[in-house]
Structures are given as structure tokens and as C-alpha cells.
């Protein structure tokens, strides 16, 4: 049966603003299916974003949606959640939004382990502003501000999240649309701060100038490069060269911020 997305899409907003072949749309669909499977009341879901192509996503979904300032998705989300812990809060953003300008809020949310679900859409570039390099643009790759090739080392967003204290960290890709749905679902179900890094394609800003002739070639690159984390355990470093893992990379039990807060201060409700 064809899946009906209409229930979660705001009427009249399509076609969306993303370029032809931009994979945000694929993930948006995975996200909708995941949320749908959890049967949340739409009124209880809040989706925040920063600024960037990615961050236009909340505009399309029929929840309480908040398109904030560049990098501040999680900081606004924190205010929403602390003020009303009953809300299911999803904070999303691009690699630039979440790990460049928004890096501080990202690590502090991980540290606090506040019950917010964070999606980092990593397309390895600043799409919106026209292909400047981001903290995840691969070494040597072209970007308008790296005309000689990217010179900076990259973040591994999942390692950063783990180092900062997140209690659930996963990676998936736009290509692996059902796996993506599953990761999103697990993240949403996790109590505490959960991070999902979603590898995404920006054919306009990144692909074309970096030898990906078509959007499909970028999806196929994801297909070929992603290794399930379980499988990876049995692979040698040589076999893993040039690959990345997908799946749940880290999960731990850890006190959730608001629960600790309310208990410690003896909140009178």
C-alpha cells in the first residue's frame, strides 16, 4: 500500500523549496513514517530548526514548528522542553547549523541529557548559502571558501556527541530510507538526549563540484560506503577504509535532565 503522507504534511506547501535531487525530501518522508508509527498526538510534537536548507523542513510538517536563528535550534528547543516537559521536542539542523555555529548548544544538550531528539542532517556543506565548507566537508573537497580544496580536519559528529555525553547516538543515511526511519523511531523512543546523524546529499552545492554527476550517484555512494555497525565489528581497518558505520553507535542509561531537576529542587507542580 502506498503510504499516505498527507496527514502530516501541511496542505499547499509542496513542491518544497529544495533542489531537484536534494535528499532532504527522502528523509522527511522517513521522519514522517517514524513519527506516525509512534502515534503521537500532533499537538504534542514540536519541531525546531535553525537556518539552512535543512532547516526549512519544519515548515512542511503539521506540528508546532519553530524555524529559529542560525545554529540555535537546540537552544530554543531547550526552552520549550523545560517550560513544558510533556511536549515531544525534536530539534533538527544541518551540519553547519548544528556543528559549526550551533556546536555549543549541541554539546551542552548532549551533556545535560535533556529529553530532546536531535537530527543532524549532514550534507558536508553549507547548502543554503551556496556551498561554503562546513566542519564535515571532506579534506580536499571543493567548496566556494575552499577553492584549493578543504584544508580542515572534520568532526565525526557521532564521536563529538558521545564525547559530550549524549545517551543515544546513531547514524543513518538518506539512501537507507527504512533504516533511517528505524533510527529516527528509536531515537524518539529513547528517554534522554538522542542524536541521529543523517548523511544527506546536496547535489547542487556539493555533488556537482565534487565529481558526483547526478543525485543518484550520491545516493549510491551512501549505499556503498555505509557499513552496519554490527557488521563493522568483524571488519578489519583496511576493509573499513573509506567507509562509515550506520546503526546505533552508542546507547546508555543516564539520568535525564528534567527528571533530575524536578526531583532535586522538589518542584511543586
Amino acid at each position: 500500500m502506498a503510504y499516505d503522507y498527507a496527514k502530516y504534511l501541511r496542505p499547499g506547501k509542496l513542491p518544497h523549496i529544495w533542489c531537484a535531487g536534494c535528499t532532504y525530501g527522502i528523509v522527511l518522508k522517513s521522519m514522517i513514517r517514524a513519527i506516525d508509527s509512534l502515534n503521537y498526538d500532533k499537538n504534542d510534537v514540536v519541531v525546531t530548526s535553525g537556518i539552512g536548507c535543512c532547516s526549512r523542513l519544519p515548515g512542511y510538517v503539521d506540528f508546532n514548528t519553530l524555524h529559529t536563528t542560525h545554529g540555535r535550534s537546540i537552544a530554543f528547543a531547550t526552552g520549550v522542553k523545560v517550560a513544558n516537559p510533556k511536549l515531544k521536542v525534536i530539534a533538527l539542523g544541518g551540519d553547519g547549523d548544528m556543528t559549526a555555529i550551533g556546536g555549543n548548544h549541541f554539546i551542552h544538550a548532549c551533556r545535560r541529557n535533556i529529553d530532546i531528539t536531535v537530527f543532524v542532517f549532514n550534507n558536508n556543506i553549507y547548502g543554503m548559502t551556496g556551498a561554503q565548507y562546513s566542519p564535515t566537508t571532506p579534506k580536499g573537497a571543493w567548496a566556494t571558501t575552499a577553492p584549493y580544496g578543504m584544508t580542515e580536519n572534520n568532526f565525526d559528529i557521532t564521536s563529538l556527541a558521545i564525547g559530550a555525553g549524549a545517551s543515544f547516538v546513531a547514524r543513518t543515511t538518506a539512501y537507507h530510507a527504512t533504516h533511517c526511519e528505524k533510527m529516527i523511531k528509536e531515537a524518539l523512543e529513547h528517554k534522554g538526549l538522542s542524536v541521529v546523524e543523517i548523511i544527506n546529499a546536496c547535489p547542487t552545492g556539493f555533488g556537482r563540484k565534487n565529481k558526483f554527476k547526478t543525485p543518484t550517484s550520491m545516493l549510491l555512494w551512501m549505499k556503498d560506503s555505509a557499513v552496519n555497525v554490527e557488521k563493522a565489528k568483524n571488519m578489519s581497518p583496511e576493509e573499513l577504509a573509506g567507509k562509515f558505520t550506520i546503526g546505533v553507535l552508542h546507547k546508555e542509561e543516564k539520568p535525564e535532565y528534567l527528571e533530575t531537576y524536578d526531583a532535586t529542587v522538589g518542584l511543586k507542580k
Binding site: I17, W18, C19, C53, M128, T129, G130
Partner: protein, 179 residues
């Protein structure tokens, strides 16, 4: 030469902004004043886009095009949107494939298969903007063909010179053949 206001309207990726830039560049090298401006949505890509250029022997103070002396519309949307700002008696050029609903009014209308020419005759729809330049210049005779060609060649990516030369020529021929 008094001020000529040229507006090239299309959708993002059609290269209208580049075309306007090349025209301005060629004009400046021909000893004129020129200002190229552009408009696009907050997305900085996709959606409606337009390139504009004002060419004049005099100082250009108002930098944008209000009413056009020359309007090129490569999409129906652009045509519908900008036609009301075409001056009386001005030149209006539309792509005959994209603009089905031809505008009516007091102007000289040219409906030419610009995109088709680019895609089929030259083999690259991307050079539609250069074909456009050929068309515009052949109609308006704004610049010497040589100067325009030089302009085009110095602004297009290396290795595409021949392609673009052909495209420019194809634009000129489109008009010539029309006559």
C-alpha cells in the same frame, strides 16, 4: 547612447544572471557604462531569478531596471510577471517553447525557440543564456558582435569556448532567419 534597460527573466539555473553579467561586461569593454543587478528568493537557488543590466553612455544613477527597453522571458512565469513593466514600443523576446501564452500589448514581440536551439542545435540546454545574448544583440544592435563574443569568451568556463561561440552565433541566426 541613452540608457537602455534590459531584463532577463527565467528560473534559477537558466543562467539569466550570468547572461546579464556578460552583456554588462561586454558593454564596459566597449567603453560604455553598465550595471548588472539580480534578484532571487531567499533560497539563493531554484525558483524565479532575473538578471538585469542597464547600459548607457551616461552616468547610471538608478541601478535597477524599472521599465524595460528589452525584456527576455524564458519561462511563462517570468513573462507574466514582467510584461507589464515593458515600456511602450519596447522589445519583448520570449522562448517559444516555454511561453505558450503569448503576451499582448504595444511592443515588438519575438517568440523564438531559444531553449530548443540550445538543447538541440548546440546540444546543451545550459547555453540557452548565451543563445539569448545572441538574440538580444542581433535585435538591438547594442554592441559590436566582436566585442560581445569577446565578452562571452572571457566569462565562460575554460574548455567551453567553442560551444559558447556556437551558441552566440545560433542566437544571432535565430533572428536573422526570422527575417
Amino acid at each position: 547612447m541613452a540608457r537602455v534597460d534590459i531584463r532577463l527573466g527565467g528560473s534559477g539555473g537558466q543562467g539569466t544572471i550570468t547572461a546579464a553579467a556578460i552583456l554588462g561586461y561586454a558593454a564596459v569593454y566597449a567603453g560604455k557604462n553598465a550595471v548588472q543587478t539580480k534578484s532571487y528568493g531567499p533560497e539563493a537557488r531554484g525558483g524565479a531569478a532575473r538578471g538585469e543590466v542597464v547600459i548607457s553612455d551616461e552616468e547610471i544613477n538608478y541601478v535597477k531596471v524599472i521599465k524595460s527597453d528589452v525584456l527576455v522571458a524564458l519561462t511563462q512565469e517570468a513573462c507574466d510577471k514582467f510584461i507589464e513593466d515593458a515600456k511602450e514600443g519596447s522589445v519583448v523576446i520570449v522562448d517559444s517553447m516555454m511561453v505558450k501564452d503569448l503576451p499582448k500589448g504595444n511592443f515588438k514581440l519575438y517568440a523564438l525557440p531559444i531553449i530548443k536551439t540550445a538543447a538541440e542545435d548546440i546540444g546543451k540546454s545550459m547555453v540557452a543564456n548565451i543563445v539569448t545574448l545572441g538574440v538580444v544583440n542581433e535585435i538591438t544592435k547594442l554592441l559590436d558582435y566582436d566585442k560581445l563574443e569577446k565578452g562571452v569568451l572571457s566569462k565562460v568556463p575554460k574548455g567551453t569556448e567553442e560551444l559558447n561561440k556556437k551558441a552566440l552565433k545560433a542566437g544571432v541566426d535565430l533572428v536573422k532567419n526570422m527575417k
